[in-house]
């Protein structure tokens, strides 16, 4: 990995309806053909195979952990003993749902589609992401990963808003935006940005879900008021705040500090080795280059895919800590120079792709 300062002069416009959105289309960065490592069809088919068994096993453990931690939190409510139970419950609710939403949204976790749909809906509610809006935003994220003006899921835009990042470890801004979006959608309003990636026929579904969710939150608040207790909100809603830390910690590593406006996931995504608990919470999305390159491969097959193609990828980041050790200085540097980014070095055995993308000015290079 080396650090690069690009010579591009003008500030970025991350709006999906702004100048860079138009430039991305003109420059061929929108819906471009992305690099992928060659894998023989027979092996790819094996990797893509769906199975209910791993996800059913994981989901039984997951739901069981929800029940046990919620029961402990309720039982010990009013004493400090409830804290470790709510820590676990909150992390499951506010963080593990990020990966469940994601994997089930791709339809790869389970072979049986209704199982994907059921976990998807539950996880979307907990992580406060409208299941219609976010299905389409994530589709765009895969089409135009970290393309400025096109990708609606760029977690850290340049220059980085570090206060926002820190607040989101406690879910504060994300939950606020989720709530205001929910109320707006429930009122029947789809924003101009949402209209850029949600097809018209899907928009009423987003409104319907928002209305159902709003009703659930109102009932929860009413119950809390009736009981004169925070407990209902500790179980529904607030865990999205006090349990968000893990999904933000892992999510920032996906693309943080890396290149924008390149069409090679090896340059804008990060694979990080993680401990088994984080991998369970995160459902192996730490293999993020692999996931973006081959989104058809289920989470449980990503370690095998990683071994198969690692010769063609940048060296994986060895730990979460190592990821932050390279990412935080890059964020700080981007406060002074937003064109700065971490340039990924490909191994000597890697197959090059669009050599100009590896030059110092990816915006200009991609535009050629």
């Amino acid at each position: 990995m080396t650090a690069i300062t690009s010579s591009a002069a003008s500030p970025r416009d991350y709006s999906l309806t702004g100048r860079d959105a138009r430039l991305a289309v003109e420059n061929g960065l929108a819906a471009a053909e992305w690099y992928h490592t060659e894998i023989p069809r027979k092996q790819m088919k094996e990797l893509m195979q769906r199975s209910d068994q791993p996800a059913i096993r994981d989901t039984i453990i997951w739901l069981g952990a929800f029940v046990v931690s919620a029961a402990g939190g309720i039982w010990f409510w009013g004493s400090w003993w409830c804290v470790p139970f709510f820590f676990v419950y909150g992390t499951l609710y506010g963080s593990s749902t990020d990966s469940r939403w994601h994997e089930c949204g791709h339809g790869t976790a389970f072979r049986t589609q209704w199982m994907n749909d059921a976990v998807y809906q539950l996880a979307c509610f907990m992580i406060m992401r409208n299941p219609v809006t976010w299905r389409w935003s994530h589709t765009r994220h895969h089409t135009d990963t970290i393309i400025v003006g096109r990708d609606p899921e760029i977690a850290v835009m340049r220059p980085p808003d570090l206060l926002r990042v820190i607040l989101n470890f406690f879910g504060i801004l994300d939950a606020w935006h989720a709530m205001t979006d929910m109320v707006r959608n429930a009122a029947g309003v789809i924003s101009a940005a949402e209209k850029t990636f949600i097809p018209e026929q899907e928009q009423p579904k987003a409104i319907r879900v928002a209305r159902i969710w709003l009703a659930i939150y109102l009932v929860t608040i009413a119950l809390a008021l009736y009981l004169h207790s925070w407990l209902p909100l500790m179980l529904v809603g607030l865990p999205r705040l006090y349990g968000a830390w893990h999904h933000v910690m892992t999510g920032l590593l996906q693309h943080g500090g890396l290149a924008e406006n390149v069409i090679d996931h090896r340059l804008n995504s990060r694979t990080v080795y993680m401990n088994p608990i984080s991998r369970f919470i995160y459902w192996n999305m730490n293999y993020h280059v692999e996931h973006h390159m081959f989104p058809m491969v289920p989470y449980h097959a990503l370690p095998k895919l990683h071994e198969m193609i690692r010769h063609d990828l940048p060296a994986p980041t060895p730990s979460i800590l190592a990821g932050y050790r390279e990412m935080i200085p890059a964020f700080l540097r981007q406060l002074r120079n937003e064109d700065y980014f971490l340039k990924r070095a490909l191994p000597p055995t890697a197959k090059p792709y669009r050599e100009e993308l590896h030059n110092d000015n990816p915006v200009a290079a991609a535009a050629e």
Partner: protein, 104 residues
């Protein structure tokens, strides 16, 4: 009048798999179902023009490799987001070990 065009040998496609076939500047996907029947559709996903032949066949479903959009390859029906537009299908027959499709 539409012509029958030879796409490939029947044995070229594994069971429950798909193969790309290009002809006359167009691209098609030829499927072999788990029941050993053959089907053909347009080769590109109606969502973002990705080659379906790189996707996964499960029973009567073809899943696009880019965004996991699903179609019933026997009928061409789009089976949910992010695909909204059905795939065009083509008649197929197997004759003397060859797969032929009728391109309209």
């Amino acid at each position: 009048m539409s012509d029958w065009v030879e796409a490939c040998a029947a044995e070229d496609i594994d069971e429950e798999d798909v193969m790309r076939f290009d002809h006359g500047g167009r691209t098609f996907a030829i499927y072999r179902s788990p029941d050993d029947e053959y089907f053909a559709t347009d080769g590109l996903c109606t969502h973002e023009k990705v080659h379906l032949a790189d996707g996964l066949v499960m029973d009567d479903i073809i899943e696009c490799p880019k965004h996991n959009g699903r179609f019933n390859y026997k009928t061409g029906d789009a089976r949910g987001a992010p695909v909204c537009v059905n795939l065009k299908t083509y008649p197929v027959k197997v004759d003397a070990g060859k797969v032929l499709i009728q391109i309209g």
